[in-house]
Symmetry: C2
Subunit: 134 residues, 2 copies
């Protein structure tokens, strides 16, 4: 069912500093930052040859990564995103397997403009899993 690893998201308290770390210390290709107010984050994409890293900084009130950064002040790996061909079929398979889909179970349009779902970390080894239909 799952296909490519689309991205690993790292929540950071200071996006400019984190971007500089990836650019200068790790010598990676970094994007300009993009504010995504409807998703409550500002994002920088780290382009690797086979996938990407997303550095996320909270934006505005009620950011979905605010609580994570309260618990992990220095930042950390927040979620991992796998691609699927058919997100509704994936959701139905997961639900029938006993996995919990977060929210109301309906795919939302994610930060890349594509349908996404998030799966409960308690069902996936303490890891928040995002599925994105590509």
């Amino acid at each position: 069912m799952i296909g490519r690893l689309n991205h690993v998201a790292i929540a950071v308290p200071d996006l400019a500093s984190a971007t500089d770390t990836y650019r200068t210390m790790l010598g990676a290709e970094v994007s300009e930052s993009q504010a995504l107010p409807e998703h409550g984050v500002t994002v920088v994409f780290i382009t690797l040859p086979n996938t990407k890293i997303e550095l996320l900084e909270p934006l505005g009130e009620g950011s979905p990564i605010a609580a994570f950064l309260e618990r992990n002040g220095a930042g950390g790996m927040h979620h991992i995103c796998y691609e699927v061909d058919d997100i509704l079929a994936a959701r139905d398979h997961l639900a029938s397997s006993g996995a919990r889909v977060l929210g109301d179970g309906e795919p939302k349009i994610g930060a890349h403009g594509k349908p996404v779902l998030f799966l409960h970390p308690k069902d996936f080894n303490g890891t928040l899993v995002e599925l994105e239909q590509v």
Copy 2:
């Protein structure tokens, strides 16, 4: 400097259960488990089209993931591994940039039989970073 994302490592308290989750719930291609006593872990590889996930369970005394699992009982993302062409050049660049290399600074032979180094999470947004020379 950094190249491909080689793998994301997820520490798990119960490897058989975690493997079953990836096989049956997520429909992924999973390997047989491999005990790596010299690295203190038993590992299962999840093969994705563009990279891999490594599920790690502690093996023996003094496993390098034991403390992580004490803090994160359900498991969680433990480290991320980027490939480099020249690990000594990478180390020297990082040291000159002020990043802390863990251990004595000398590359060790990692679980894939290749030279690796680990970088201090405090210098990388709370994320433990492994570099592997490929």
